[in-house]
């Protein structure tokens, strides 16, 4: 039997490996190209769908805008109503002038011998009382009564006191507590 000795075995082995590598590079690059095209195509399609969506949503928004413009009269009525009611709410929230209560309160506290000539009240809660007392004792009694029951007032100020013939003219300022 004849035996053959292959002296090129090592070289052939190297060239086989090179061929494999070449094939791998070629097939791999082709596959990569295909994969890249798929990805790029998908992104392009996605972009087209997005463009369409943006367009559709924009169209819908414009249609709604047109409808809103046709209802401008209702909107202007609502805006006008809202602004006026807001102003009215602010006006109504301002403190009111409780003149009746103040007058009754002062009348109740005045002992005989005190005459109240003028009472001025304002929204800030200031009450100016001008009056006259028959004598200093009655005036003292009135001032005491005001201070003792003066929990409603922040301060009671005797702004002026004049001694006239047989009477004392006085001016008192009462400041109501601000809640």
């Amino acid at each position: 039997m004849e035996k053959q000795i292959n002296f090129l075995k090592a070289k052939e082995k190297i060239s086989e490996r090179a061929i494999k590598l070449r094939r791998l590079v070629q097939v791999g690059s082709s596959l990569f190209l295909v994969f890249y095209i798929i990805i790029a195509g998908s992104l392009f399609s996605f972009r087209l769908i997005q463009d369409r969506q943006v367009q559709t949503v924009g169209q819908k928004a414009n249609q709604a805008k047109i409808k809103i413009n046709s209802l401008k009269k209702i909107e202007s009525l609502q805006v006008s109503l809202k602004e006026r009611l807001r102003t009215l709410t602010a006006i109504f929230k301002e403190p009111g002038l409780d003149y009746q209560e103040a007058i009754l309160y002062l009348e109740d506290l005045s002992p005989s011998g005190i005459s109240l000539d003028e009472i001025s009240l304002n929204k800030q809660g200031e009450i100016d009382v001008n009056g006259a007392a028959d004598n200093s004792q009655v005036l003292d009694e009135f001032l005491n009564a005001l201070s003792e029951s003066g929990k409603e007032f922040e301060s009671i100020i005797l702004t002026s006191l004049r001694n006239r013939v047989e009477k004392y003219e006085f001016n008192i300022r009462l400041l109501k507590e601000t809640s």
Partner: protein
């Protein structure tokens, strides 16, 4: 390098030409196609989100507007306009005061006001804080009628608030001085952007509306009667 060697080298690495061509193609595609596409996708995404938001607010506003009854709104707006006139309506206030005086039995002995500029635009610039017209009136009557007058005054249309009262405690017949604020409010000049949501009436404002709804209209008509009088030509006898 000799020419023969170069040729040999080129032949040896000929197989790299195809992958290199693909690489070049991919590079070109990436620069001129893929990158612009990706940036457009990002831009579209933001735009879509904004458009969706705009659509949602517009749809909501449209639904709100369609839910409003125009007739009811007109009725309410008319009543609120009576409560808070568009401009300084001095004749209306005078009519209201004299009407209330007649109704309650008090005598208006003095009315004074300094309305200033009557045009709303001119008045608005100067009075940015509160739009009110100050009146000083002097009335005389019994204590009961004065009290009644003051009570009716704060519950009439247009809205009037009492600022201060100065009365002779012993003799109200001598005259009670009252300082009043009559309010006005100009119409809004603009409605704002279309995308802006519709303003809704709050509970407090609803309460304020209920309050003026209960108020009786001013006595003696809403405005002074327009009676044609005087000369047609001021400059001729």
């Amino acid at each position: 390098m000799p020419k023969a060697d170069l040729k040999k080298l080129l032949l040896k690495y000929r197989f790299v030409a195809f992958p290199l061509a693909i690489g070049g193609l991919i590079l070109i595609l990436t620069v001129f196609f893929l990158v612009p596409n990706i940036s457009q996708i990002i831009k579209n995404r933001q735009e879509l989100a904004q458009e969706k938001e705009r659509l949602a607010s517009l749809t909501q506003k449209l639904a709100d507007l369609e839910g409003l009854d125009e007739v009811e709104l007109s009725t309410r707006a008319d009543l609120v306009l009576k409560a808070l006139p568009v401009e300084k309506d001095v004749p209306l206030i005078l009519t209201t005061l004299s009407g209330l005086g007649e109704e309650t039995g008090v005598v208006l002995t003095k009315i004074s006001a300094t309305p200033g500029e009557l045009s709303t635009a001119a008045a608005q610039k100067k009075e940015s804080k509160t739009n009110s017209l100050d009146f000083e009136i002097t009335i005389s009557g019994t204590l009961g009628s004065i009290t009644n007058f003051l009570d009716r005054l704060v519950s009439t249309l247009p809205v009037i608030q009492v600022n201060s009262v100065s009365l002779g405690a012993d003799d109200p017949e001598a005259g009670v001085e009252i300082s009043l604020d009559a309010y006005f409010f100009p119409l809004p000049e603009t409605l704002g952007a279309v995308e802006k949501p519709i303003v809704k009436i709050s509970t407090d404002e609803e309460i304020a509306y209920k309050k003026i709804e209960k108020v009786r209209p001013p006595p003696g008509g809403e405005t002074l009667p327009l009676v044609g009088s005087g000369k047609e030509n001021l400059f001729s006898f």
